[in-house]
Amino acid sequence: MARHSSAMPADFSWIRAEPHGIHLAPADCWIDPARPVGRALVTHGHGDHARGGHGETIATPATLAIMELRYQTREGAAPVEYGQTIRLPGGVAATFIPAGHVLGSAQILLEHAGERVIVTGDYKRRADPTCPPFEVTPCDVFITEATFGLPVFCHPPVAQEVAKLTKALSDHPDRCVLVGAYALGKAQRLIAELRAAGHHAPIYLHGAMERMCRLYEDFGVGLGELRLVADHSKDDLRSTIVVCPPGALNDRWSRRLPDPITAMASGWMRVRQRARQRNVELPLVISDHADWGELTRTIEEVNPAETWITHGREEALLRWCQLHQRRARALALVGYEDEDD
């Protein structure tokens, strides 16, 4: 599969990184564009990748459902199943491959004139009960994210973090544990991991979480008994786990809870200062992105001729590629943000 030696011209002029997204010229089609376009391929439902208002949106059924929930429109939705290849104008073929990031997330394999390019969107390599795992797929150009692209990021086994959470719960029967978790993906994965660890008690939700959890259940991801905080008294909430969006952690909303232990589930929690900035007492290092080891291992396994880096800490990953004699460059894309992840 090694293509370093082949005399392939480093052409790829049909795929270009523009400031507002990746553009496929022959198909006049964009991947994860930051503004409305005629035709978009969308890797997954997070706000920095999926935006509303496109003429046609090609994505997995779950991603389309998530976008519909967020933008209240299904206009131009064109579903594609994992593994299914679709033909775009101008002789471009696109295949959606599981990325293991969140429900519906996909890498997109693009083929044109014998050249293969993969856009990962966001991805991770750990098992996740809420979505199928990342599949390593050979290609010439691997366009990867680098959200946790620093060697300090090494996500511990998720079971270890879930155990910290359940221990805090049993150590403080009069309090509740309030976990800040990104409303799409992290929250549902955390709940599913808790269930897998044998925590079957009702889990309480901030109102903003409810519809996304229901959507997950509609797609066959069981989350057990969920209740809304708003329907319950302070006393009901003692000795329970409450899940809220990270933004609500230090908000007035949390005053209704019984002396909450503030936790947050995020890869950033690996760094103490990040946790302290958010007043987090119980940091849970749980991420839906690849950590440094996974990013670099994935590049080795995919073994592309070139690696393009979209967003995150691209400098360090570029440096790693350079140290390992791999061709790489950073794409200057705008509009991608650090998710609270």
């Binding site: 620093l150 060697p151 230090n250 005053r255 760094v271 987090v280 007492e281 440096r319």
Partner: protein, 531 residues
Amino acid sequence: MEEFAALVDALVYTRSRNEKLRLIAEYLRTTPDPDRGWALAAMTDGLSFPAVKASTIRNLMMERVDPVLWVLSRDFVGDTAETASLLWPEPQADVTPPPSVTEAVDALASMTRVSVMAELPKLLDRLDATGRYALIKLSTGGMRIGVSARLAKTAFAQAFGVAVEDVEEYWHGLQPPYAPLFAWAADGAPPPDSGDVPLFRPFMLAHPLDDVVVDLEDYVAEWKWDGIRVQLVHAGGETRLYSRTGDDISGSFPEMAEALTFPAVLDGELLVRGSHQGGAAGGAASFNALQQRLGRKTVSARMLSEYPAFVRLYDVLIIEGEDLRELPWHARRARLEALMPRLPSERFDISAVVEARHFEHLAEIRSGARDEAIEGLMLKRRDSPYVAGRRTGLWYKWKRDPLLVDCVLMYAQRGNGKRSSFYSDYTFGCWDGDPDTGAELLPVGKAYFGFTDEELKQIDRYVRNHTVNRFGPVRETDRSLVFEVAFDSVHASKRHKSGLAMRFPRISRIRWDKPAEEADRVDALRALIRD
């Protein structure tokens, strides 16, 4: 080491003081000697390993990690110890189990500048990231994990149900790992022997007088001077000067350390001689002059002659081995007065008793006192022994009425702990000219107390509804709310844009009624400077 590392980690994330106390006490109760003693030393800044420096850690990392990746990581994480703990390569081969705290301390103590490069990695290889973080923090000194020495000692007292004053008293004669201290507190052994060591004795403290009226038959009045409360101890041929917190500040005041030459423990106010106030009463300069002398490691001859220190004595605890603390105040006062001829007069005087016919008369004297070196009055029960800490009914402090100024709220910041969902820390300013002709507000101080819980909620709501800008945890308001701010004094300061710094500012009233344009000007505040 794992238990200590877990403790350090938990302390980093814990905001609540009570929870910190609980965590440390639990550790001290459940950890064997001498590990817990070394851990206690680490938390109270009692350990030093000269062979290990921040640069040592950096150099070790350079041998193991690409320099570019190190710099990028260090910049992102913001802390060398933490970055190194996260980047340290996990050892490939099977390694020996983690060292105990004692083993780690012994190893660190035996390292030299040369051997450290080979020996420290052996310790780091035996630990996980949390353990490495704790080890690096411990070995480079200054844990900076939000635990003061006082907090650690309070936790110690709490762990074993002993009085923190006793812990303070015995503490100073001991070296890590404090075996006699643990034997006494945990196992009921006799208290550690102070012997011929200049030990700190915990201070007797006062309650605010508030609404209490006392009978001057039972209470005596003294001035409360605006310096810093100190204890002078001479024992075993050595004199030490201790601050309120028991910190040894002898190094900053060598002239005082030389001035007491016989065994005694004296309690008084450290002041600097000044010409412009106090006059014949033995002029003391303002607190600002004293501040020139605080916290200095070396003291120049110029400092000594420009800001000469002296102590105005309040009390005597021990003279030549005789413990006077059980005696009533009047008996100790008599002993103190008898002692004065033995002390050099340029370094010591005695705090005068304020003569008043009755309480109202005293109130009159107090409100007439304009000397800047006077903070107010002390009222001491004439028959009271000298007891550590704050005991109800024995000593009262009756501070002079504070100065007041109307300021405008400019910025509000989220508080800590229970207050973390409230905007509870306020920066306020005064006008630098006439607000009607385009003057601006200059920040003059910060305060985070003085209001009730109910008022806090009101201000919090106000801040949220009047935000014009946000920077992280800070909100800038539209500058429309006036606070009446109380403070003890104001001093010139080059560090602040307004050129002044307030002492003990607190919110005395919220002036919902007052338009911001009618708040005070910086000039009004400047006129109160008495340096």
